[in-house]
């Protein structure tokens, strides 16, 4: 045994030295995403966008003379996983910053751990206000639920819809938040909420809820859920003879939305961050690069994933170091970053103020409807 140890220990030391030497010429960034499971569409998209950004940064010479190394872990869309993954990022991989997640409830799990360890975390697309309230190391580069809920309430009123029903996913902080702010603005400006109903992530049968909503005869139904359930809700609503438009938020964005829903969501509207139809050169350049790399059209989550990595890289450059406190200050100082999803300036609450895009669903695709400024 002693012999074994004496032989092994020099080997181990050499291995340890080699890995730490290799680690020094790379800056490690942790990314957690729902690559599989119910929110896989989000995770796959944001991951592809993030990866594209990291590749672009490294191709342009990296930051501080080093390449960025993206370490990606799949949280399988399961509660409990983000905490474990982020612990691992910080304790084992020694990442300098964390990118993730799309779903607010996942980001809320990871945020306290990053905050405690003074590792900056940038969420690409979690819109629930609570996410950045966790602490001063937590950032996001998207707008927040109050804005998104308000935008859709304004939109509904502008369309002349006075009686709206609300169908909320009670298991998602995101959905509950959006519904709250929608209802607040809508009722304060002359609208009436004729019925509220709820469901839980993973439900497949929504006919009981939809039957009860139908009885209230709404002009439109606000469904601020995620695409997996919204697709089935759309389909079952049409079967039950509910023909009013459905309204939603950026949780609708996912390529499986229309695959499952078919044409049953035609005439519905939702708010989001980005439209690939946007003619601005920055967007078109990004869309072309993304198509060349992945042979598909990027959606919101891809654009936000890309922006999140770019903002991090830019902050590392400005900070001149990857040390937690200085990096945090640099990210907080982000101003007028020309992102794919609009000009990004982080405010004192570490949220981004940017315009929202409203898309409509027509002929089996998302079509640009209008842009709403904050």
């Amino acid at each position: 045994m002693r012999l074994l140890r004496s032989v092994l220990s020099p080997v181990l030391i050499v291995v340890a030295l080699a890995t730490s030497a290799a680690a020094q010429d790379r800056i490690k960034v942790g990314e957690f995403a729902s690559l599989t499971g119910g929110n896989a569409s989000f995770g796959q998209s944001s991951h592809k966008g993030t990866q594209l950004a990291i590749e672009a940064i490294n191709a342009a010479g990296g930051v501080l003379g080093k390449n960025l190394q993206l370490i990606t872990e799949d949280d399988q869309s399961l509660a409990g996983q983000p905490a474990t993954i982020v612990q691992k990022f910080i304790a084992e991989d020694k990442v300098v910053a964390v990118l993730g997640e799309v779903a607010s409830s996942k980001s809320l799990e990871a945020a306290p751990i990053c905050q405690q360890n003074h590792i900056p975390m940038i969420s690409p697309a979690s819109t629930n206000p609570k996410v950045t309230e966790v602490g001063d190391y937590i950032f996001r580069i998207c707008f927040i639920d109050p804005f998104q809920g308000t935008v859709m309430a304004k939109f509904a009123l502008a369309q002349g819809w006075k009686k709206v029903a609300v169908l909320t996913d009670v298991k998602q902080d995101y959905s509950v938040g959006l519904a709250d702010f929608f209802v607040k603005y809508f009722t304060a400006h002359g609208g009436e909420i004729v019925k509220e109903q709820k469901y839980s992530t993973g439900d497949k049968d929504f006919k009981p809820q939809l039957t009860s909503l139908k009885g209230a005869q709404p002009d439109a139904i606000f469904v601020p859920g995620y695409y997996a359930e919204v697709a089935l809700i759309g389909k079952q609503a049409r079967l039950l003879g509910l023909k009013v438009p459905l309204l939603g938020g950026d949780g609708w964005v996912g390529d499986s939305l229309l695959k499952v829903a078919g044409n049953s969501l035609d005439g519905s509207f939702f708010s989001c961050h980005f439209s690939a139809e946007d003619k601005s050169p920055a967007v078109q350049d990004f869309v072309a690069k993304f198509r060349a790399r992945y042979q598909e059209t990027p959606d919101d989550m891809a654009a936000l994933g890309y922006d999140s990595a770019m903002i991090l890289a830019e902050a590392i450059k400005r900070a001149g170091t990857t040390e937690g406190d200085k990096l945090r200050d640099a990210i907080a100082a982000t101003k007028n970053h020309p992102g794919i999803t609009g000009n990004i300036t982080l405010d004192a609450q570490r949220n981004a103020a940017k315009p929202a895009v409203i898309l409509t669903i027509r002929d089996g695709g998302f079509k640009f409807q209008e842009t709403v400024a904050p």
């Binding site: 896989a40 497949k204 049968d205 009981p208 809820q209 089935l232 003879g241 499986s256």
Partner: protein
């Protein structure tokens, strides 16, 4: 009034699915006295069998959805599930048949986890869109039926209930009118006596697993027609609900399983429609606890005296 009736229709359609799965639980319990916790995952495999069979099968009957194609997909999925059920019994449960019952129970949980996680590995964990087997639409009801005329009954709901009823009648025939059915009943009444009378234990148990799994497979395809989004973990919740249905009706009792399934379906629809979906699962599981406390043999079950 219409809304209430509509909720009953919704609940009945969901209850029919639970009934089909519950039958498998109850049949296997009847002959083996153990709960096959992997049964809900056979239901999931049925949905995936349909998912992979559908494109090629539908092509046989023209391009789009067709009844003949749907029927063939249903039968194909049932056959595959029967085969899987038989293989599971042969590999996992038969070697343990003489061990304490708890061993088989724990094995069943292991098989269940294997199917769920193997399914995620094999099929991918993200939800898949189930292809349209039929063109689903709401049926036009005659105007003269009072509050009934305003109901929305979809083709898929009628189809699910119709096929469920058909399968129930067929099952009843098999159990009550065939020799194998007689052997099944004999085995559930008294295994030792049945064997002494010449019942081939292995064969009957194999047949029971095949039949129960085929019904679960049918339920998997039928639910996917109504709710065309399937994933490898879809069997967990449906399996648990069906298990409760089987216990509610009286485990080991075939009509009881159907009654339990329908009651659970109706209860769920009414709780969601009139209370809140957050109370749905707590209330359904509370039913399980209440039944176990106050009527452990279930609604239709008979209390069996333990012989000392």
């Amino acid at each position: 009034m219409t809304e209430f009736l509509q909720q009953l229709v919704n609940g009945l359609a969901q209850g029919g699915i639970y009934a089909l799965i519950a039958l498998g639980y109850t049949m296997i319990y009847g002959v083996l006295r153990f709960i096959n916790f992997a049964h809900g995952d056979i239901f999931m495999l049925g949905a995936f069998a349909g998912f992979y069979l559908a494109p090629a099968t539908l092509k046989l009957f023209g391009a789009g959805p067709s009844y003949a194609g749907a029927a063939l997909v249903l039968l194909g999925a049932m056959a595959l599930c029967a085969l899987i059920g038989i293989v599971i019994e042969r590999l996992c449960y038969r070697p343990l048949r003489d061990r304490p019952r708890i061993t088989a129970l724990i094995t069943a949980i292991g098989v269940s986890l294997l199917l769920e996680n193997g399914g995620q590995l094999l099929f991918g964990a993200d939800p898949k869109s189930f292809p349209d087997l039929i063109v689903d639409r709401a049926l036009d009801l005659p105007a003269g039926w009072g509050p009934l005329s305003a109901l929305t009954i979809t083709l898929s709901q009628v189809l699910v209930l119709g096929v469920t009823l058909l399968l129930l009648v067929a099952l009843r025939h098999v159990v009550n009118r065939t020799r194998t059915g007689l052997a099944m009943r004999a085995l559930s009444l008294n295994p030792t006596a049945a064997q002494l009378a010449g019942v081939n234990l292995d064969q009957v148990i194999m047949f029971t697993f095949g039949l129960g799994s085929a019904l679960a497979g049918a339920a998997g395809v039928l639910i996917s027609i109504q709710q065309p989004s399937i994933d490898p973990l879809m069997g967990i919740s449906a399996g648990l609900k069906a298990f409760i249905a089987a216990v509610l009706g009286g485990i080991g009792n075939l009509p009881g399983a159907v009654l339990g399934g329908v009651l659970i379906g109706l209860l769920e629809a009414l709780v969601v429609g009139y209370l809140s979906p957050t109370y749905r699962d707590p209330i359904v599981f509370a039913v399980l606890i209440l039944i176990l406390i106050f009527r452990p043999a279930g609604l239709l079950g008979t209390v069996q005296k333990e012989k000392v």
